[in-house]
Symmetry: C2
Subunit: 209 residues, 2 copies
């Protein structure tokens, strides 16, 4: 069936949110850890993290409109730091629970049953229960005019992960590390590798790696 | 183990690219269809599409540096239109093959064995073999200064998808539609739903939907 923009604008609000959130495809499943200047920790689930570049190593995140309180954004602007922690099957319920609207004084770590962990380099908490943890420093942000959202970019300063998930060519087997994926607002999925494919060249047959 | 930014900068180039591309988590798997002013069709695999907003309905895409030819970007700027087509297991090899560097006169549709399909609204080709197809119009773009990439945003004008994958609350069951996900540069994965979770509120137990 075909659904037009006019149909979409007439959808009931939650129906439209569910529908449109599903359309970009599967999404990354991360917990973003931050702290205020005073050291209050915050943890929030994000499905918008994307790869921005490898040299320098960069990750981008989309933030919802400034009109609602955004503790994660405020903390990043205060301290300059955030952590990206992959969500796995053991913690997906705790991760989802971080999307509840807790007061800023409360830490989602405590409220949702996850454990903060610190390194010397990053002024933000990691999630102990996560298997792949990335420490980032704020580098730039862009204001998306059409809907008042912000695309924010962080430089990767350190990565903490199990030795046995990094393959010989640098690929990180995030499936083996238990990382899961999200679709829509609230659907969590495990993955099963189909295959890795060789570098594509015109007229050359692809191989399975 | 801990890997620092200094370690990352000393990695061999392809090793670093594989490593950093894996870190954001699972990625969306889409084919972006465009056409030049003259009507030459182009098709390119993108793993950077993300949800930007539901009202108006928006999708964002990250483009690599301007220094390399980017037919997709050029076509979008020429015509103002692009299509987003979910990749499924039946076409993932053809989809991967679109990443080969074909001359601009050649169409990846023909070279890779996929079929262009047109609608009245969108001046860009859809992929017939894709189950979920989204027609978009360019709305704004942002230049990421630190690595000369571009974050581009399109407004969703129409969505073409099977009736039976849209649930009562608007959620689109993209897993049922066969949509797959990508990790790193070249790894393709099927998904298996763990569960959908209810809207989170402080102090309230989560339910499985």
């Amino acid at each position: 069936m075909k659904i037009t923009k006019e149909n979409i604008l007439q959808f009931e609000k939650l129906y439209r949110t569910n529908f449109i959130n599903s359309l970009s495809g599967f999404k990354s499943a991360n917990l973003i850890g931050t702290a205020s200047k005073e050291g209050n920790t915050n943890l929030a689930i994000f499905s918008s993290a994307i790869h921005v570049g490898a040299h320098p190593p960069l990750i981008g995140l989309l933030f919802r409109p400034v009109s609602v309180p955004r503790h994660t954004y405020e903390n990043i602007k205060e301290t300059g730091y955030f952590t990206v922690n992959h969500i796995n099957k053991d913690i997906y319920k705790q991760a989802h629970q971080t999307s509840a609207r807790y007061d800023k004084e409360l830490s989602e770590f405590e409220e949702c049953g996850l454990t903060p962990e610190f390194s010397d380099t990053i002024q933000a908490p990691y999630v102990k229960e996560s298997n792949i943890k990335i420490g980032c420093r704020f580098v730039e942000e862009h204001w998306i005019k059409i809907n008042d959202t912000i695309f924010l970019i962080g430089e990767i300063l350190e990565v903490i992960l199990p030795d046995n998930v990094v393959l010989d060519d640098g690929y990180v087997d995030i499936e083996k590390a238990g990382t899961i994926t999200i679709s829509g607002l609230d659907s969590y999925h495990e993955t099963k590798r189909i295959s890795r494919l060789s570098y594509a060249k015109p007229g050359k047959e692809l191989n399975t790696l």
